[in-house]
């Protein structure tokens, strides 16, 4: 799988580098994957809007040369919906941490999914509130530690993909920062999908999560992703007990014939015109 050198510079705001993330933070790996996917799709930079909330992951937009909006904590999708509905020709991608997307932002998550609006949401799922120093998040595994679960977490985590699907998302997948090449393809597919697409990317935060959970280094954390991730297909052949502690990767759900929200709205407008 030899590749020629990929030129990220075209998409980077180079004078903002080096980025703010800690050494070895998986967010940088995902950022690169996102750039490669967008490059593959050859979308005009002017036509891309990236909106994010607040958190480490949400710092991403600052580094890329698109129309970028670093909104408030948990609300990226609301801005995204506004601009997408007003200018449906734009490709709108939303970047959120797990806390951003699913704790404070959980309501916008399920409603964007319900509407099946053509926006791609990438959840940078590091099981923690990275930016505020490692409080537990709604995806943090039971029994693990955080600054606010000194005696071990007792809150069950969301399965981001299950939730997205039940709420109405029509394209749902999972990957990790380790599976960066799989991620390229999934991001590409997510952006291409006509409807609300949710990509749950398990990413590594050794600073706020790992070092409280016996994974002090980025390497340990990425190794965890490598070992625990299991492709959807392979998972099918395993018994439930073989799956405990593991998570499925790859495309988890797709529905192509569901009406997309912007398109439906445009149809209404057309109808009114002819009236």
């Amino acid at each position: 799988m030899i590749k020629t050198k990929f030129d990220y510079n075209k998409y980077l705001r180079q004078n903002t580098l080096p980025h703010i993330w800690c050494p070895g933070c998986g967010d940088g790996i995902i950022l690169k994957s996102l750039i490669r996917a967008i490059d593959k799709l050859q979308i005009k930079k002017d036509d891309i809007v990236i909106a994010s909330g607040i958190g480490c992951a949400s710092r991403l937009p600052g580094y890329v040369d698109f129309n970028t909006i670093h909104t408030t904590h948990g609300r990226a999708l609301t801005f995204a919906i506004g601009i997408k509905m007003f200018k449906p020709r734009l490709k709108v991608i939303t970047i959120s941490g797990d806390g951003d997307a699913l704790a404070i932002g959980g309501n916008h998550f399920i409603h964007a999914a319900r509407r099946n609006i053509d926006i791609t949401l990438i959840v940078f799922n590091n099981y923690t509130y990275g930016m505020t120093g490692g409080q537990y998040s709604p995806t943090q595994p039971i029994g693990s530690y955080a600054t606010t679960t000194p005696y071990g977490n007792i809150e069950p985590p969301f399965d981001v993909c299950d939730l997205a699907k039940a709420a109405g998302a029509t394209w749902v997948a999972r990957s990790t920062s380790y599976h960066a090449l799989q991620l390229d393809k999934l991001i590409e597919a997510a952006i291409t999908h006509q409807g609300f697409s949710v990509l749950d990317v398990i990413t590594n935060c050794h600073i706020s999560y790992g070092r409280r959970n016996k994974m002090k280094s980025p390497v340990e954390m990425i190794t965890y992703q490598k070992e625990k991730g299991i492709p959807v297909r392979s998972a099918e052949n395993l018994k439930p007990e073989e799956l405990t502690g593991r998570f499925k990767t790859g495309l988890i759900y797709q529905k192509n014939d569901a009406p997309e929200f912007c398109a439906e709205y445009q149809k209404k407008l057309e109808l009114l015109k002819t009236k």
Binding site: M1, I2, K3, T4, K5, F6, Y8, L12, R13, Q14, N15, T16, L17, P18, H19, I20, W21, C22, P23, G24, C25, G26, D27, G28, I29, L31, K32, R59, G62, T147, S177, Y178, A180, L181, H206, I207, R211, K216, S217, P218, V219, I222
Partner: protein
Amino acid sequence: MPEETIIITNYKACDSIEAEIKPKNKLNIKTVSGMGKKGKVTIDVIVNYCKGCEICVYFCPEKVLAMKKEIAEVIDISKCTKCNICEILCPDFAITVEE
């Protein structure tokens, strides 16, 4: 936090709390070229981007890389298969692999 205990991790966090546009730093690039297992290869490490996370070193299947003073360095280019894993997994745009 209550009873403070000594927690000292060995990471080097990024100091630039300013995301404000920075003066265009000259990139300090260390280039190593040579013949790898699959032919000619050039590996660039941008020294002032590398944060020393060790990911490339650890995940390089051929042990081409090593840490030197917390910066990644090519130690044996002859084993490189140009698999690109180091580049793909580097979170910091700090290492690239070319023909």
